[in-house]
Every structure is written in C-alpha cells, then in structure tokens.
C-alpha cells in the first residue's frame, strides 16, 4: 500500500485547481486521479466559450480552459494518473484504484478531496411515461457524442429543460444542421443564464415554451414524438430525438462507499471547511453542489486545498473555528426571466458580453463594453463562432474544437460551417479560411 498525503479524485475544474493550489502551498506527495484518458473532465466537451471570465479574466472555451489548467499542472510537475477509477474508498482513507495501466492499486491517503463532478438527471428520474425508444439522450451525453465522438444523433430535436446545457445544446445542434423544434421548460421562468437564452435560442429562432413538461414519449423503436399537457389537453409534437437537460446531481458514489452522509439524498453534508462527516475527506466542485460556472468550481477547489493544507499541517489548529454550516450558497435561479419579462423587453436588450446579463437600452448601456455591444447589436448580430472541425490534428483524425478569432455575422454561420468541412488537416494552433474575400482566423486550444 502506497502512502500519500492527499488524493484528489477527479481532474475537472475543481480537482485540477485543488491540485495546483495544494502544490503551490508546498504539498508534494499527492496524486490527482482521473478516470478518463485526459485531464479536464467535462470541460473537454464544452466547446463553447464563456469559461474563465472570473478565474482567468479572459473568456475561453471549455477545452482552452482545460488546457490552460493542464499546462499549469505540468509546469508544477504534479502527479496525476489518467484512466484511473477509484472503485473503493473507506473511512481510513484507503483508496482502491483500478486502471488498465496498473491494474488494482491501493493507496493510503492522509486526506482525500472528492471532485468527481455530477451526473445528469435522466428521463427516468422525472418518471416520464410512454415508451422507451432509441433517440432519448441527456443533453450532456449528446454533447459528448457530437463534440467529441463526431456522431450524429438525429434530425429533428425537442429539448426539455432550459438549463445552460440545454440552451447550449440547442445552439450546437442548430449549428450542426439539426432542426431544433422547440425547447420546453417546466417552470414559468428560465433556469439557465439569460445570455445563453439570447445567444443560443434567439439567435437561431428556437422557440422556448414555459410551464411545459413532456408528459409522454411516443415511438416503439425510435422516438416519433412527444406529448405535453397544455391547458389540460394532450398535445403532440413530432420529432425523432429528445434531449433532457433537467438538472444535475452531485456524483459522490465514491464518498458514499466511505460512509459520508448526504442530506436530502443528494448533497453531501460538509462543515464550514468543506470536510465531510469523515475526518480528512473533503468535497468540492459539482460533487458538493451544482455551480453555475466552472470558474466557481475552480475557486472552490482552491479554497478546499487551503483547508486540506491546514488539515495536513496541524490538525489541532485546523479543528478550531469549524462551524456546522455549509460553506456555500446554493445557486439560486433568478425567477424574473419569464414570458412577461421577454414581452416587455421591446426597446431594451440583454447584454451578453458577460454572464451578468444586464438589460441595456439607448439610455443605459450598463458599462463601456455594453455600449459597444449595444451599438453593434443594433446593426448585426455578431458572435464568435465555436464549433468543431473533423480533420487530422497532430497525426490523429478527430473532432477538434475551434473558435473564430473574430466575430461573425450569425447569418453567415451555415456558409462558414460548409467551408470548415473542407479542412483536412490542422497543424498549428490556428488556421484560417477565406470567406467573402476575407480571411477568418480560427483557433484550436
């Protein structure tokens, strides 16, 4: 049994940040375990931008954010293990790790940080009646299938749930040429960020319908449509694919094996220093509670690394000033973005420059950047395009996430998308295509 000071389970935004911080504080003998074959976790499939605004003071795509953290990890010479599943953890902080590289290994850790992220609520969790055909996906699965594996999942899609992943996928599918029929939200208001409603639904003329939940799925083999209940009546919508973006659940199965306590069956109980009921086992990121931004998960990872350092350094001191209250505020959805709100917008618009989502108009731009945005938006809808290119990259043919260097008129997206299809090979961090007698530069990571 190998002895280590700390084990971090999961190399997503929280786990990687915790690893970097722990190392910076001077802890060397620890391992970051990652079950996938690359660092970054879910960031890798989130090819859209909107990451890093708080953490890096710069807007990045998910893969860019992951690579930046990964670089830091490499620079600091942090020990990490890929393809490594922690299959058991006990109260004594003994971890059993399974990997195709080393088989079964057991580690005894002085402390454990669980940063295993979350899983998506499924159609089954919502207990939606009807048949169980092919063509029902969770939004995150669909995202991985399309953005990483280069699969096509259908033609005509209905999305349930206005969480950020649902909104992002509505845009992603539209860019990829799918027909997104409609997006339903059970609540009377939006549950994702307002800027995502603007740039993911409005930009692509995808209607959102509040107060609606799919009440039945139809089709014996493949999805043929969905039912909803509207004003007491059954309504049928034809589609061949249904995406569910109906919430995330902290995934702490490994913590449960050690005996950590969860309140309300889902959220782990921690004290004010992020420690669970088992001394020395800590939790951060989405496996503790669902964060609205990856940046916040990273910030939390750092915070927890601080406490873990204290714990390892001097447990007596660490035990002082601990309270029994959760050290975070759960993310609350702003209930104001309902049908009335959008009807009353008229002259005003939602600023999408940052996640704040200010309502701006000709008398009030919110900020300097808002002013620039307002003036441009009045003329054309210009957006940086995030998509993928299927081509050879570093000798491997795969889907490469790319982002345009400049803003593109959204009307041009389908034409540019066609041109991107012709790219056979990318051999540097950027490349360009010729569009309307102009060079458009694209960046990978």
């Amino acid at each position: 049994m190998k002895k280590i000071d700390a084990a971090i389970i999961g190399a997503g935004p929280a786990g990687m940040a915790a690893a970097v911080w722990l190392k910076e504080k001077g802890i060397d003998n620890f391992i970051l375990f990652e079950r996938n074959n690359r660092l970054g976790g879910i960031l890798n499939q989130c090819i859209h931008s909107g990451f890093g605004i708080d953490y890096y003071n710069e807007e990045l795509t998910g893969p860019q954010y992951a690579v930046r953290m990964q670089q830091r990890l490499l620079d600091l010479n942090i020990n990490y293990m890929l393809g490594a599943n922690v299959i058991d953890l006990n109260r004594n902080k003994e971890l059993t790790v399974s990997s195709s590289k080393n088989g079964i290994e057991v580690y005894k850790a002085g402390s454990v940080i669980i940063t295993t992220g979350c899983r998506e609520r499924t159609r089954e969790n919502l207990e939606i009646p009807g048949t169980r055909p092919a063509g029902v996906f969770t939004a995150g699965s669909a995202q991985e299938l399309i953005n990483i594996l280069n699969y096509k999942i259908g033609n005509k899609v209905i999305i349930q749930g206005s969480g950020d992943i649902g909104l992002i996928m509505a845009r992603r599918l539209s860019i990829e040429g799918y027909e997104v029929v409609k997006l339903f939200e059970r609540l009377p208001y939006l549950s994702g960020l307002i800027r995502n409603k603007v740039q993911c639904l409005d930009d692509f003329n995808i209607p959102i319908q509040f107060n609606t939940q799919i009440s039945g799925i139809s089709g014996k083999d493949r999805v043929e449509g969905v039912y909803t209940k509207e004003s007491g009546k059954d309504k049928f919508y034809k589609c061949d694919t249904v995406l569910f973006s109906v919430g995330l659940i902290p995934e702490v199965e490994i913590g449960k094996k050690a005996g950590i306590i969860l309140s309300n069956n889902f959220n782990p109980d921690v004290n004010s220093k992020f420690e669970t009921n088992i001394k020395g086992i800590f939790i951060a990121g989405n496996s503790l509670h669902i964060h609205d931004l990856a940046d916040n998960a990273s910030i939390e990872g750092e915070k927890v690394a601080d406490y873990v350092f204290d714990y390892l350094d001097n447990e007596k001191k660490f035990r002082k000033n601990i309270e029994n209250i959760a050290p975070y505020n759960s993310h609350e959805i702003d209930e104001k973005y309902n049908d009335d709100f959008f009807k009353n917008l008229k002259d005003g618009m939602v600023c999408i420059v940052c996640p704040k989502g200010c309502i701006i108009n000709k008398n009030n731009f919110g900020c300097k950047r808002g002013e620039v945005f307002f003036k441009k938006e009045k003329m054309h809808k210009l957006r940086r395009l995030t998509t993928t290119v299927f081509c050879e990259y570093n000798g491997v043919i795969k889907r490469i996430p790319v982002i345009s260097g400049e803003e593109i008129n959204i009307k041009e997206i389908s034409k540019i998308k066609e041109k991107l299809k012709n790219i056979k090979k990318i051999d540097s961090k950027s490349f360009s295509i010729n569009h309307n007698k102009k060079e458009i530069v694209f960046y990978t990571v």
Binding site: G83, S100, E127
Partner: protein, 486 residues
Amino acid sequence: MIYDICIIGAGVIGTSIAREASKYDFKVLLLEKELDVAEGISKANSGVLHAGFNVKTGSLKAKFNVEGLSFFPTICEELDVPYRLCKKLVVAKDDKELIHLEKLYRQGIQNGCKGLSIINREKIKKLEPFVEGKYALYSRKTAIISPYEFTIALAENALANGVAIFLDNEVTGIIKEKDNNFKILINKGRSFKSKIVINAGGLFSDSIFSLVEDHNYNIYPCRGEYYILDTAASRYLNMAVYPVPPIGGSGLGVHLTPTINGNILIGPSADYINDKTDLSNTKGVMDILKKEAYDLLPQLKNIPFIKNYSGIRPKLFNDKSGISFCDFIIEESKKTKNFINLIGIESPGLTSAPAIAKYVLENIIGENHNLIKKKEFKIYRKGIKRTRFLRKNEIEYLYNKDNDFGEIICRCEQVTKAEILKAVNNPLKSLTLNSIKKRTHAMMGRCQGGFCIPRISQILTEEKKIQPDKIFKSNKNSMVYRGYED
C-alpha cells in the same frame, strides 16, 4: 438439410427446450425474430422463482412449477448464472386476509411446496423490520434470478452443444409437406426444413399455431408495469414481499422484489391492452405502483428511481367462449402430428421452464422418437465475470491475464472494458446496446448510460468495424444514431 427439431421463439421456454434437446442426438434449430434472445416475456418480469403455492392444485402450472424450482440450483451452477435464495413473504394486513394466507398455505402443501409457514407480526419484524403486516405466509424456497441472463446462458449452452440459432429470423409460414416434414418460411425469403416443430412463440404462440391450423387459442396481452429502485433500497428489504393476491385479479398484486443486481422492483400492475408490442408505462399505473409499494414499505419514499419498464403476460383465452384457460397448453397438436404447442406460458413460466423442457423431450417427443443421449454433451457454460462482485485479488488475477479488466467503462455498475468486449463478442452474435446491457449490466445504473453509452458505442464501432448508424438499441428499427440517411 433437414432438422429434427425446429423451435420457434428464443425466450426462456424455447431456449430451455433447445438446451434439453441438445442433450440428445438431434439436429436442433432455434429461430428468433428479434436481434437477441430473451427479448419478449423473458426480458421483463419479476425474475422470481416461485415456490408454487399460488397455482391451482392439479394444474400443469402446479406440476411444472414445483418440479422446475427444484432444478434451478443445479442448472444455475452448470450455466454460471447468479441465483439467490431470497425467500418470500406474502403479507396479510388483517385477520380477514389471514384466511387467504391459510388458503394459499393449504394449496401450497397440496402442490408439494416445501418450506412454508404462517408467521405473525413479531416474526415478520424479525425477518423484515421495515415491512408492515399482521401475518405473513413465509416461503423459504422462493428464489430470484435474472430471467434474461438465464435465457442467454441456456441459449449459449445450447449453441455450444450444436443447436443452430438464428436471430433476426421471423417465421412467416409453416407448410406440412408430402414427406411429412415441415417447411418453415422466414421473412427474408429463406426457409428451413424440420421433422418436428415446437411453438414457443410466447405472446405470438397463437399466431404461430395459426400458420398450421385453425384453433381457438387466443393470447391476450396483459401488461405489467414496473419501477426499478436505486440499490440504496436494498437496505430496507432482503426478501420478495407480496400482498395477498387481489381476488379475481390477473396477477399476484403489486409486490417488492429484490433483483440479483441489488435493486428493488416495484410491480407489476395488470392491465389488458390491445397491442402485444405496447410496452409503454402509463401515468395512472405508475402512481398506483408507488402508492401500493409505499403501503408495504414506507421507507421506500426516500429512494430514487432508476427507471420504469413494462412486460407483457400472455394470457390465454378461448377465442369462442372468451373463457380463460387458466393453465399452460403443452401438447402435440391433435391434428398436425409433430407440431408441439407451448401456449399461454405465463407466470410461473420462468420457474417451470426446466421442467417443461424435460417434459417436452421425455414425454412428448420421446413418445414417438428415440431419445439417444449424446456422449459429448457439454454441461457447463461460463458467463461473463462481473468485476463488481469480485474481491480485489480476484480482479488482480483477471487483470494480469487481460489489462482491460482494469479499465472501467460503466462507472455506475463498475463494468470493465473486458466485460464489455466479451459481451460485444458474445457467442450468439447479438450486437445491440441492449444485448450488451443484458450481459454486463452496463447502462443499468444511476446515470442510465449517460456516461457510458458514448464509450460503449465507440467500442462497438471499433471492435465490429461498423458505422454508428448500425448501432441499435434493441430491434432493427431502433437506431441509436440518426441523421446519416442523407
């Protein structure tokens, strides 16, 4: 080539007969219309091996149930299929229901069931602290298996013993030819010849029989809906727990059954429907299931759901009189010699299967044909090792032979790449996501495949050199990935 025996339908009955027949010197053919075995009734039921007190004394159901149950420990060992003697309680809420328990008890004794007793509240609390009831019929012999794993094992063992198994081959016609052999027509335009035909068509056994002659048998589909609860529920329940069966009802009442995998099932309901393929779940029934389960075990209210599913019972009625036959039909057709029917094999069909198979061979076929035992019959079959249930040193041992035992693909059910690959390359050559699911339990856990379906799809495309649009969920029209058409 002329087969001696052609079995139509690869459910638990068809595969049991196939395995039994492969012990003898026969050329055996097993035809199945779906892309895998156990895709009908045998896929979706409670998986309970009944003691035999619920069925009428003197019926075929009673005979085969009691006899069949006794075979299971041995067969499961031979076929490497997990079997658990979980035991069962039929719970009476009051003195009025006690009368029914006593009736069941007497019936059980008459049927030859062992290990039955009626117990009071104290004893119930001792056995199952969370179950509410005044009295219970306690059955020590009731067990559980995974019905589809059992069916797969039977089919694989039959295959190893020379049975020809053709999946995706739907029988569309049966002609008795002049030489007295049967010509069996298949949807793809091909045909087979056989001396004996065995109709184990399950829900469609009535239509299969119609291909040969007119008859009065009519299968009415009676749907049973289920909930599967998170494995966290298993801390509240060890045994199968049933209410007193509803009088005049079509089933045993909504019950709680542990599964081999450690989940708890709620169900099934019982509703006659019009369509034998309609496996929907319905809001009304789902609400009733929950209510009745919570009445039996209030603690379940806090347990999350994994998913819903439905199965269909093949209820057998007389087409003319509309009266239920109430019993299995297991006989050679009086008009068409060498055509053997198995119609209306509903509960306790799973428990009865081994005894039925033995009877079909020894008492029906053996009547007119010589039964010559094969010397080289392979009794044993090995299933896919499930690392989740192994100890560390056992996994290490496997890993040292195959590194894929270290790579976990399905995190919820802890299924390794080695297990997935073994399922992808299964001997029956069934290639759907469900066939991998039934063989490994991947995709059956909390995330319902959200994390592993992409990875399993990738393994499938790489291993079998197929495009994503050739990946199916269960049957031919259930393409998982669409949009490749244009």
